[in-house]
């Protein structure tokens, strides 16, 4: 056994107004050598706290952390030589080069000259960073930084490798490479008893772990091999084929069906998870055609453990269509920053009531396109019309028709829910009467009435996100812009969020989403794939999957399709 936590509880003391936060409670688990133990859970589950406790960076409020026989509360120093730790932001010195970062970690672990001469070139070759040895770490792409962080953590051949969300914010291709690299290192270190702890919010990554610790809001839901999570779900997961036009209606019907535990949109089908013991519903009654059993996924297991009713979003009032032509029309849009072209002749259009997703890795030009469409950034060339208004000529008028929800929580943490809503209502110029109505409706429709007087910063992530959406919709915009709206949110909150977005689209609101998150992409009617500033494909999720289908890949996922398209571009 490599490490063990027993009866672990960690409480962060509160501030002047904030209550103390219980980050972990009642967590007991063991970490074995020779495998990757996944610490899996949505944001706020306590993953980082658990890894920091294992690294001896925090002292537990209660319980014990033992690494290689050392009690980390008193004897962390002794264990540090055998621990490789990669924090969430990689822990690299950005103004040091790749080689200098490695040398620093070699010095810190007091590696001898011979060991260095052997290991550093090997790690550089292994991570593909050899050609960039002299480049400053700050100038590396996200994927390369992550590899360098991994190389630094591996340099001293640690017995225990702790990786805190190493795959956040990097494109799917880099994510796969990273898994392959860690698997290789693990195979090499097997005889010296190496083990890996990998924290992730991507539930699909759990399936690749040897054992999974499932955390949710500081509590441990389960500790088991991933197959155990799936075993209970055999014969309970189905794909319901539905015509694209009736997808959302069918989803709504399925969600209220008593046999159904969970509904998720997946391209041209709905993915249904049935309650234990329930018999499959009639596909035609739900508005679909066929019901096919499919293999369960880890996420289904997560939802099964939480076992709540699927989210049903209230029907939204119909949004009148204003102006003719498409809701968003982008033609040959270009944005340069000096010699660098961030957005390179991008054209697409989005119809009223459509959910359109811009999908691409970080740095591909999604956010730049987004900012131009919001009128926050002036295009270098091309045109963009939003709600029939030219953004170059009438940015303010166009902005009044747009609702915007930023990726990070962009409300005022110090204000209460009610104060935040009142502030945004005033900012959007709602008069006193309209303001009162809009706020009352928002509190009601988004279930915020109970937390009305709570300070926004103290709310759980899912509630914050509801509040942000409520604020973006106060002025009843024709078009809603969402920037990675559900990254890191737990699957239940994500389902509930997208049910609302679906209801809004049904009512005629046009939705534009940017994401590097495949789960979010599935909810879109159409997707545009952006890579290196260029729009390389525009299609429905089903269409994109069809493009990647081949003899070697009979049932490609959206991620497979994405990687193929980016490689081919």
């Amino acid at each position: 056994m490599l490490a063990e936590v027993a009866g672990l509880r960690h409480v962060f003391p509160g501030g002047r107004k904030a209550a103390p936060v219980v980050a972990l409670d009642g967590v007991s688990a063991t970490f074995s050598p020779g495998m990757i133990t996944g610490v899996v859970g949505p944001d706020g589950a306590g993953k980082t706290t658990l890894l920091r406790l294992l690294a001896g960076l925090l002292r537990p409020t209660a319980g014990r952390v033992t690494v290689l026989g050392h009690d980390m509360a008193t004897d962390a120093q002794a264990a540090h030589a055998a621990i490789g730790y990669m924090p969430q932001r990689f822990g690299l010195y950005e103004d040091l080069s790749v080689g200098e970062n490695l040398t620093l970690f070699a010095d810190l672990h007091a590696l001898g000259a011979e060991v260095r001469a052997e290991r550093i070139p090997r790690l550089l070759g292994f991570t593909g960073l050899a050609p960039f040895t002299a480049r400053l770490a700050g100038r590396l792409s996200g994927g390369m930084k992550q590899k360098l962080g991994l190389a630094c953590a591996l340099l001293a051949r640690p017995r225990l490798l702790l990786l805190d969300e190493p795959s956040v914010g990097v494109d799917p291709a880099s994510r796969r490479e990273l898994w392959a690299m860690v698997a290789t290192m693990l195979a090499e270190g097997r005889e010296q008893g190496m083990g890996v702890v990998w924290a992730t919010a991507y539930l699909d990554e759990a399936e690749r772990c040897g054992r999974v610790l499932l955390l949710h809001e500081g509590h441990m839901l389960a500790e088991a091999p991933p197959a155990d999570f799936l075993a209970a779900l055999r014969g309970r997961v189905f794909a319901l084929a539905v015509p694209a036009a009736r997808r959302r209606l069918a989803g709504r019907l399925a969600a209220v069906d008593p046999a159904v535990l969970d509904v998720a949109v997946e391209g041209d089908a709905l993915r249904l998870v049935l309650r234990a013991g329930a018999s499959p519903p009639d596909p035609v009654a739900l508005g679909g055609s066929t019901l096919v059993a499919v293999a369960p996924r880890f996420e289904d297991g997560f939802i099964d453990r939480l076992a709540t009713a699927p989210a049903v979003a209230p029907v939204e009032p119909k949004q009148p269509v204003r102006g003719d032509g498409p809701a968003i029309e982008v033609h040959d849009l270009v944005r340069r920053f000096g010699p660098f072209t961030a957005v390179d002749h991008v054209s697409f259009s989005v119809a009223h009531g459509e959910i359109f997703g811009l999908l691409g890795p970080n740095g591909a030009g999604k956010s730049t396109t987004f900012r131009m469409l919001c009128g926050l950034l002036r295009p270098s060339g091309g045109s963009a019309r939003v709600a029939g208004l030219d953004l170059m000529r009438a940015p303010a008028a166009a902005r009044a028709r747009i609702g915007y929800m930023a990726q990070r929580f962009s409300l005022y943490g110090e204000l209460t829910v009610g104060e935040n809503l009142a502030f945004f209502a005033r900012v959007y110029g709602l008069d006193r009467k309209a303001r009162g109505v809009a706020i009352a409706q928002a509190l009601d429709r988004f279930d915020l009435g109970e937390v009305r007087a709570s300070v926004a910063a103290a709310l759980p992530l899912g509630v914050k996100q509801r509040l942000a959406l409520a604020a973006a919709l106060l002025h009843r915009p024709d078009i809603l812009f969402l920037d990675e709206p559900t990254s890191g949110v737990d699957p239940l909150a994500r389902r509930a969020f997208w049910a609302r977005i679906g209801a809004l689209a049904e009512a005629g609101v046009t939705v534009l989403v940017t994401s590097h998150f495949m789960d979010e992409a599935e909810y879109c009617d159409r997707l545009g794939i952006i890579s290196a500033g260029r729009l390389i494909a525009t299609d429905t999720p089903a269409g994109l999957r069809a493009r990647a289908r081949g003899p070697d890949l009979p049932a490609p996922t959206l991620e497979d399709a994405f990687i193929r398209l980016v490689e081919a571009a």
């Binding site: 920091r52 690299l92 620093l104 010095d107 810190l108």
Partner: protein, 375 residues
């Protein structure tokens, strides 16, 4: 090489590379002292030289012309002719002159006929700054008296003899306030630079998340602190040497003491300032808060309570007691002594001892608050 030395070498190399790559530390170490010394050395002048005084002569005569010449001969005064009291009043209000000297119609007549009533003259001074007003009064009075007694002797109106006061100003014979301010300024600069350097550097590591990977590595806390102190000590001493050179070469302040003592005093103080910066950034963890705290804890005491600008001996007793808490006062005292008087051991030694104590306390406090943990 022992593991500890190897870790220290790695940390030290990292710090040096960061300093060389990141312009902000170099700017703080070298540009900030230059700017501060230039602005304060030239800008803050307590000297009153060439004060403009409007002279209103209601009946011009040979005597009044002589008097104006005598005023002009003083290095401190610059007489300006004004045609009327009204105009002179306007000049005074507009701030173009510091004072107005009115020589009434009967000035010359009374002067010729010394009687029970001496010749009247009126001085109007702009007393918004009472100090300058008093200085002006003194200089005008002095110039008038010198002129009057010279004139009396010339005309044999007075018996010869009397008292000849011969004065010498020690330590600063030319009464240049730069000689007094600039050494203090060097202390001020070091106080700010030393603390800012480390306060920002460590909080930056917290912000960028690199501190986390340092803490999880085998590096000991003492090694991390020592590497920082060594690197920024070098940088701070270079900045200090540059400030001293500027003081001597640019501002012409004499240096009369021992360079060795200068080195000892500044080393001790720098150690204190750097440790204070580390202490602040350990507690603050964000660059913004750290910068604010660094300014608050160094700038105000250095400016107000160090004796650099304001004489500590003339402060109220409780404030004098308070100045002892801020080590910058000991450095100011040592520097002023070294620059102006030379190595006066009975002054230098107690101050050096105080500086050593301050450095010890600051380093100790930093080691005490720096724990190997995030919480």
């Amino acid at each position: 090489m022992t593991p500890a030395l190897m870790r220290l070498r790695g940390l030290l190399r990292k710090e040096i590379l960061q300093v060389l790559r990141d312009p902000s530390s170099l700017l703080i170490a070298f540009l900030l002292p230059v700017v501060l010394l230039l602005v304060n050395g030239y800008g803050v002048s307590l000297d009153a030289r060439h004060m403009r005084v409007a002279v209103v002569t209601q009946a011009p005569a040979a005597d009044t012309r002589e008097l104006i010449q005598a005023l002009a001969a003083s290095p401190y005064l610059a007489p300006v002719a004004a045609s009327s009291t009204a105009e002179a009043g306007r000049l005074l209000t507009a701030g173009e002159v510091r004072g107005v000297l009115v020589l009434p119609e009967d000035f010359s007549a009374r002067l010729m006929r010394p009687s029970r009533w001496p010749a009247p003259a009126q001085l109007l001074a702009n007393a918004t700054d009472p100090n300058t007003a008093r200085i002006l009064e003194g200089y005008v009075q002095g110039a008038l008296l010198t002129w009057a007694s010279g004139r009396a002797q010339e005309k044999r109106l007075l018996p010869s003899g009397g008292i000849a006061l011969e004065h010498r100003y020690w330590f600063n014979p030319e009464l240049r306030s730069a000689d007094f301010i600039v050494p203090g300024m060097v202390a001020f600069v070091m106080s700010m630079v030393g603390t800012l350097l480390t306060a920002l550097v460590v909080s930056r590591e917290w912000e960028r998340g690199t501190m986390e990977s340092m803490l999880a590595s085998p590096a000991r806390m003492g090694e991390i602190i020592a590497a920082r102190l060594i690197c920024y000590f070098g940088l701070g001493m270079l900045g200090m040497a540059m400030s001293v050179l500027m003081a001597v070469l640019l501002f012409g302040v004499p240096f009369r003491g021992s360079l060795l003592v200068l080195g000892a005093a500044t080393s001790l103080f720098l150690l204190f300032a750097l440790a204070l910066g580390l202490f602040i950034s350990t507690l603050a963890r964000s660059q913004f808060v750290a910068a604010q705290l660094a300014f608050l804890t160094t700038m105000l005491p250095a400016l107000m309570l160090s004796g650099m600008l304001f004489d500590i001996a003339s402060m109220p007793a409780w404030l004098q007691a308070l100045t002892h808490v801020f080590p910058v006062r000991y450095l100011v005292s040592v520097l002023q002594t070294l620059f102006l008087a030379g190595t006066v051991w009975q002054l230098v030694l107690p101050n050096l001892a105080a500086l050593a104590l301050a450095a010890l306390v600051a380093v100790g406090a930093t080691v005490a608050v720096t724990r190997r943990r995030l919480d």
